[in-house]
């Protein structure tokens, strides 16, 4: 699986999920259609998005997605066209939500942030876990071995569904 596209760089720390999508847009029962609100909680978010209208890859500073658990943040990014987020660190819930929505979460060395933020375009080989910036040399990145399959393969819920019998057996054994 290859993700290739333009980069929107907002190399600031602590872009919380309220900034990605404010609470007053959390009133839909659909996952689709939230892209129109993407980054609308950040004062200059809409202008930044307009600067790279076809961006597919978001580069940010530390602690992307902190705060509220709202998966709407992942839905808004995905619906707006984003397929990868690159940052020195991710908040835990946002990281899980990214995997569950096939947004490739790439953790980079904080010292590399300026380089990634300066790049215009990236090509991400998800299977081989490498990324090329503006046609440069491949840079290796790490992914969660299990959750990677939620991006490239069957998804999170089918995996859990396959475990139900096992869980029931475990629970029954616990009760004995």
């Amino acid at each position: 699986m290859i993700v290739e596209g333009n980069i929107l760089a907002i190399p600031r720390p602590n872009i919380d999920t309220d900034q990605i999508i404010p609470a007053h847009y959390l009133t839909s029962i659909d996952e689709d259609g939230m892209g129109q609100y993407c980054l609308s909680g950040m004062p200059d978010g809409p202008a930044l998005l307009a600067g790279v209208p076809d961006a597919k890859i978001l580069v940010t500073g530390e602690n992307i997605g902190c705060g509220s658990s709202r998966e709407h943040a992942a839905w808004a990014l995905r619906d707006r066209g984003f397929r990868a987020v690159i940052a020195p660190s991710f908040a835990r819930i946002f990281l899980e939500n990214a995997y569950n929505n096939a947004i490739v979460p790439i953790v980079i060395d904080p010292a590399q942030l300026a380089t990634f933020a300066a790049a215009k375009r990236a090509t991400i080989d998800v299977d081989n876990q490498t990324i090329r910036l503006d046609g440069g040399d491949p840079i290796r990145f790490e992914l969660d071995e299990l959750r990677k399959a939620f991006i490239t393969g069957g998804g999170f819920l089918p995996f859990l569904a396959s475990k139900i019998d096992r869980v029931r057996a475990w629970e029954a054994a616990c009760r004995k």
């Binding site: 009133t27 950040m42 998966e71 899980e96 299990l146 959750r147 869980v167």
Partner: protein
């Protein structure tokens, strides 16, 4: 041997170790609310024939915007209401609801040693009962309802030891802000915070909930406090009055991935000045010299400014952090006999809290002071329904997040304890109860 409290709870719930350092972790309870449940419930229905692992392990409620404010929120509430009815899930709704992190513990659903998850980041509140309780996304919540499990990376465990005892004027909220200031706004990421020490043992259950509630604000997966007699007494007085639970404790020689020690007696009444809960200072302090430029710009502050010099436009007492009965009693004790000088909203955490407050006459104190006394809900905390603040407005708030735009686009939030919010509401600027002439209650 050598195991922390968290280790014991975790180990007792691992169904299977999975690739990549993940584990399949059994969930004893899933809490579902109207903002983050519909998409997951619909996905289960569509893809898996509406099967649930165990309806008796799910509690549902409409809490964020209840009663609904418009058609969209009415639909959300209706989806959850109908789904719960169809599935036979216990549901708390208009008339008997409130904030999930207030309702679930006050009814007695959470016992020591349990695992709990909810599509809400402040689920960590429930760690106050010696449970492993965590916030998750909608898809993960759907998975927990479908398969009874979550897939989790085992968190590291940070011991947060709070020695001594809190000063009379310091609250659990000040301690919560103090912990974040100590370990940093991102410092808890990848950890569960296991709170120990004499200052923790001395906290009431409601204070423990306030402390654990803000574990997420350091990035932590959760917070956890070992159950003791305080826990037993609280649970015994709940409607469900659970029994038969064990009270796990850390081994005496437990090892931790990190340890921080805080002298509880040094915790001062604290107010946030910046744009995340790590940016706070003692109320009699100033905006620090090394403050981030972006935070200063958003909050319209400059280094050296005294926090008590800041005029505020609105005050809010409420939220899953500080809207339990003890919070309202403390705020009322400050407000009694005074008038607020700015728009002030008091929102109890649940209908049960509201009714108790009214039995005690607290609603009269708030309303005599000129504050608005509302029904229970998440309210203004997340700028989703009532009480949204205007761009540039400053709100002193007993809530948990001061992110840009949290309570309304362009709005500025200062986090504080309910007593500081009450005092500030009277003064019209950030101020402490020490500045207020506290009136003795008139004997009934």
């Amino acid at each position: 041997m050598n195991r922390s409290l968290f280790d014991k709870v975790w180990d007792a719930h691992v169904v299977e170790e999975l690739a990549g350092g993940n584990a399949l972790v059994f969930m004893d309870l899933v809490v579902a609310h109207e903002i983050t449940t519909p998409q997951g419930a619909i996905a289960i229905e569509k893809e898996f024939g509406d099967r649930l692992y165990d309806k008796n392990r799910i509690v549902a409620m409409n809490d964020h915007v209840s009663p609904a404010k418009d058609t969209a929120t009415a639909i959300q509430a209706q989806v959850v209401r109908r789904w719960a009815k169809r599935q036979g899930i216990t549901m708390y709704d208009i008339g008997d609801n409130g904030i999930c992190h207030v309702i679930v513990p006050e009814r007695g659903y959470v016992t020591p040693g349990m695992t709990v998850c909810c599509g809400d980041s402040h689920t960590c509140t429930l760690g106050a009962f010696g449970a492993f309780a965590l916030g998750i996304g909608t898809t993960a919540q759907a998975g927990a309802m479908l398969a009874g499990c979550l897939i989790l990376q085992r968190p590291k465990v940070m011991r947060v030891e709070v020695t001594g005892k809190l000063a009379p004027d310091a609250t659990a909220k000040d301690l919560a802000l103090g912990v974040i200031a100590k370990i940093g706004f991102r410092g808890g990421t990848g950890y569960v915070l296991e709170y120990t020490g004499s200052a923790i043992s001395a906290l009431t259950m409601e204070e423990r909930m306030t402390l654990c509630n803000m574990a997420i604000e350091s990035g932590a997966t959760s917070g956890i406090i070992a159950a003791d007699e305080t826990t037993r007494a609280y649970l015994g007085a709940t409607p469900l009055a659970p029994t038969g639970y064990g009270t796990l404790r850390a081994d005496d020689d437990a090892t931790y991935d990190a340890t921080v020690t805080i002298d509880g007696s040094r915790i001062r009444p604290t107010v946030s000045w910046g744009i995340n809960p790590g940016e706070s200072a003692p109320i009699d302090g100033v905006v620090p010299a090394d403050a981030e430029a972006a935070s200063l710009e958003y909050m319209d502050l400059h280094p050296g400014q005294a926090l008590t010099s800041l005029a505020v436009d609105q005050a809010f007492i409420g939220s899953c952090t500080n809207a339990r009965i003890s919070d309202l009693r403390a705020a009322a004790a400050v407000m009694r006999g005074h008038k607020v000088s700015i728009p002030t909203i008091v929102t109890p955490g649940s209908q049960a809290v509201r009714r108790q407050a009214e039995r005690e006459g607290l609603h009269d104190i708030f309303q005599d002071a000129g504050a608005l006394w509302t029904h229970s809900s998440c309210g203004p905390c997340l700028g989703m329904s009532m009480g949204v603040i205007a761009p540039g407005a400053r709100c002193i708030s007993s809530t948990n997040r001061n992110f840009p735009g949290r309570m309304g686009a362009g709005g500025r939030v200062h986090l504080a304890s309910p007593v500081v919010v009450a005092a500030s509401a009277i003064l019209g600027r950030i101020g402490s109860p020490a500045e207020i002439d506290v009136r003795e209650p008139v004997p009934a």
